[in-house]
Symmetry: C2
């Protein structure tokens, strides 16, 4: 069984041969918030159908975008995670995600739309200026429309993970609360970060200097070019 390919000698077409099918890039997005198990993916990607997920994961493994790994001792569960190539792909998705949120926000939020706090955060995390956060070791827990996710700054690295809202996890420095419409307005550049804060649409609670550092490390206003600015 040979998958449908475009048969074009072109970077975009070759990329789409690998990650252009339905659901594939959303699986990659899920794994941008750390390694996940098969059933985590199945739960996050409502509607995917179990055999299609299995098939997509196999394709991504074959393309060396994703690898399957058995977690050490206590858990011993199988997880899927991004390879180096997968992480490079995830950086290439930021401009596309910013374009999508900027041009394609139909209604503010359909009542039956799915939403997870990690979805915007894996992209916004890419906008954090590493020079500003180089020596910081802070943990931010976001609460957005009933969903929670955590951004950690460690040794100049930024990581995003999902989190249960009532997970004790005592190392949280700042709790940040907003609704889904707000983070989309900010992501689309319709609302600047300070506007959102002064309007009370984003509420910080906890270590004030940690909160200030995060605001300083993010662009004041996200533009379509934010994803194009070199972050080295």
């Amino acid at each position: 069984m040979t998958r449908r390919q475009y048969g074009q000698f072109c970077g975009l077409a070759m990329g789409l041969d690998v990650v252009g099918e339905r659901w594939t890039l959303l699986i990659v997005r899920e794994l941008m918030a750390g390694p996940k198990r098969y059933s985590d993916l199945l739960e996050a990607l409502d509607g995917i159908g179990t055999s299609l997920l299995a098939s997509r994961l196999r394709q991504l493994e074959d393309a060396e975008v994703v690898l399957k790994r058995r977690l050490p001792k206590p858990s011993a569960s199988l997880v899927y995670q991004l390879t180096e190539s997968g992480r490079e792909l995830s950086r290439a998705l930021l401009p596309l995600a910013l374009w999508g949120v900027r041009h394609q926000t139909h209604a503010p939020k359909q009542p039956d739309d799915m939403f997870r706090a990690e979805w915007p955060l894996v992209f916004i995390a890419q906008l954090i200026d590493g020079d500003v956060t180089r020596d910081a070791r802070y943990t931010y827990r976001f609460h957005i429309d009933g969903s929670s996710a955590t951004i950690r700054l460690r040794d100049g690295e930024v990581s995003v993970t999902e989190s249960d809202a009532d997970d004790p996890d005592g190392d949280v420095d700042v709790d940040i609360t907003m609704d889904a419409a707000t983070i989309v307005d900010v992501s689309a550049g319709r609302l600047s970060l300070t506007e959102a804060v002064t309007d009370g649409r984003i509420v910080f609670d906890g270590n004030a200097s940690a909160a200030a550092l995060l605001v300083e490390a993010l662009p004041e206003r996200i533009t379509i070019d934010s994803g194009l600015i070199d972050q080295t």
Copy 2:
């Protein structure tokens, strides 16, 4: 008939709801080389099938990524072209295309792979540094594996168009010849521009200072981050 949507309140998912279906992004890539007629698109996108092309164009019009326009007087033919939103999308595709060419070049080139000189050039043109070319008015004709395309620098703007190799078009300043493997190696960063020139894999013929300007305006070596560097 309601199109298949992901139903997720996420920028990437919303973007893919519009441009994530088969062929859609390749239609956008075609229009990055200027307005084209229906039958031009049908010819360039081998295998698409006429009714699918019509349907995709209608979706892109509805999403205001593409618009249909009647050309003035003499030709009076219908052309499709990118809107401002479509041009922003095309900028967001550069990192994805660079990822694709870097990680997914299977064999050097399958003998039955389609190829057009404009395909790599619409992306490479985005890497041209506008500060360097601000006052230049040069025309470069590329000849790659039997296919030709033209890059024009005008008033700080860069445009790419397809061109018939034997089109007289007397305003060409430099002819640039290479094979498809070379431009892919350069795009993937496996070969630097000066290496390619000194190895004779890229041959310039014409106005030497125009040629030197183009080389100066391009990155010496294309990296996965080249698409992420702000070009303002």
